[in-house]
Subunit: 194 residues, 4 copies
């Protein structure tokens, strides 16, 4: 019904998630550079998570763009997505503070996987309610492809963290880069629609 409020609430939660992570950088007591250096792993994990939440915001933006009527199912699927995304600051902090130890990297992969799965569900619910626009459907198929690659990558990253955590970390970086490359398909589909 009121798409604006669904967007406003999601924007609010995503804005808080992305900013709350900065609270993990506890201001160090000394003013030496070495006091800052200790925070480097936390900073790297913050940068990674900032990208991921930013990507989700962008995708969410595109996804809801095609929605005309908000259903109760959509609201539930959206809440579910926000729940898993809200765990990113915790997983980020644990990973950063423990210098990317296997366990923590694996948990980060788990949170990404569950968020990705929740996004996939939301996408299905939205798609069911917008069968009229053909062009957008094609775009969705492409975006679903990216989504599938991500889900497989995250799943792989979990056991791989116990082999070598740098492999998993590399997967996280590569997947985020894949998403940061603009999705020409949706934009083209939207242009054709006009």
């Amino acid at each position: 019904m009121n798409k604006n409020r669904l967007e406003a609430f999601s924007d609010g939660v995503l804005a808080i998630i992305i900013t709350i992570m900065v609270l993990e950088f506890k201001v160090p007591h000394g003013s030496e550079w070495k006091n800052l250096l200790v925070l480097l792993p936390t900073f790297i994990s913050y940068g990674l998570s900032f990208s991921y939440v930013g990507i989700y915001w962008g995708n969410h933006h595109h996804l809801l763009h095609s929605v005309k009527n908000v259903t109760s199912g959509m609201m539930l699927a959206n809440l579910n997505l926000l729940f898993w995304l809200s765990l990113i600051p915790f997983a980020t902090g644990w990973m950063g503070e423990n210098h990317f130890e296997s366990n923590t990297v694996a948990l980060y992969g788990v949170v990404l996987l569950l968020s990705g799965a929740a996004y996939y569900i939301l996408q299905q619910v939205v798609q069911k309610n917008s069968h009229d626009i053909d062009a957008l459907r094609i775009a969705f198929k492409m975006s679903t492809q990216k989504g599938m690659i991500s889900l497989i990558s995250y799943t792989a990253s979990i056991p791989l963290a116990f082999v070598d955590e740098t492999i998993s970390f590399g997967i996280f970086i590569l997947t985020s880069i894949m998403w940061l490359i603009p999705d020409k398909n949706i934009e083209k589909a939207l242009k054709n629609e006009k």
Copy 2:
């Protein structure tokens, strides 16, 4: 007058309430799984409260949908609701950190009861200002029924927490499930209205 700002402010406060609870998960210092396991009760209580705030957001969304003119009384009743909801993160943290001890479960019930009562008041104020739409009135009656069941459940959960806290916890879960089942009545009423 300006319904949008009432919605925007409420969305903002609800988004912060729902996300602030995640700050209760203090990142553990060790990287062992057992360090995570300690947080399990906090996680469960977080999940429960996330659902409740999400439900309130959804209901608030439906409730204000029917509003045409915002009155001063509505603004006061809305502030009152937000005040009680803002205590949920505290009650959640206390319950989670103390592994669902009787006192903490009872307090959680009290906060839910006061929030529910505040919602009921807001509903009355809104209803008084929208007597023109008959269909919506019927839907409100149904939703008020659910609200009444909730108020009774919360009231019961408070003394029951001292008998066995799992009973109260079960009541919280069942009540939240009752709300998560989409309210077909409001949606149907709104459809008929069109």
Copy 3:
């Protein structure tokens, strides 16, 4: 130019200010009632500040309602107001944790006074840019009256805190009640305007 963004930003900041205060309730470690009782003064000061920020939100809502063009001066005056309001959580925490000692009550009065003065400035700036609506001007005059009474009360509360802090606290409560009584004048003026 874009009034909506000024409102959205202000709503965001006010929503965060009102909710951030809840972080001052540090979840106590024990699960006894006496562990909660210790937080009572913090709770009372939270309730008071919640009312004040809520009142400011409502007044801000009314004030900007009459604005047609946002000027740079308005943006500055608005930022100035938000700055002083952002100190309320700090003053609230200090007062609550120190059980309303004279110094802390006086500081609370100072913050209220500076916020009130900043609101008065914003009101002047807005008024200068909306000289066309006569009815609203009358309403403003009334609201300015309330504002003046508040500024005098806050000023009085500062030295009085060193005589007896309950007097100052009483002034805070009475002033907030004065504001919570709906401003019929603005509502009537707006109605006439239509």
Copy 4:
């Protein structure tokens, strides 16, 4: 496509950044004035950063005003800007807690420089997508001038912090004052446009 959501998300993040800094004022345990005095440097750095984030919000507001279509590049450039701005609370806290020691002042300069550079990039991306409005282009050139002066000032402030940190601090204050003086050029250009 949907400019509103880009604005809403940015407003949300900026509102949180500006308010989160207040959490750095940890409520002191004693109620003596000397307990407050210790927080003076933190307060000064808070005031400075509040102005800077407020200025960025105002400029962002003006910049996006001229945007008609949001592109993927714009979304990325905007996220990049928000990332660097999100580090301001950390840099503020470090500087305030260490009483403006050289290292901390230099880092503050670095964060301002990177934020300024990110803003410059966003400006370029926006400008590329609005070549139709000539007047706005002239205004942009002026605003770019201010931007250039800022970038040079921030760059200078970094080494100067090791000579005398008060020079760098003075630069920060002067630059913020330069920005707080309303940009008549953009407002005039927008007026002509109408």
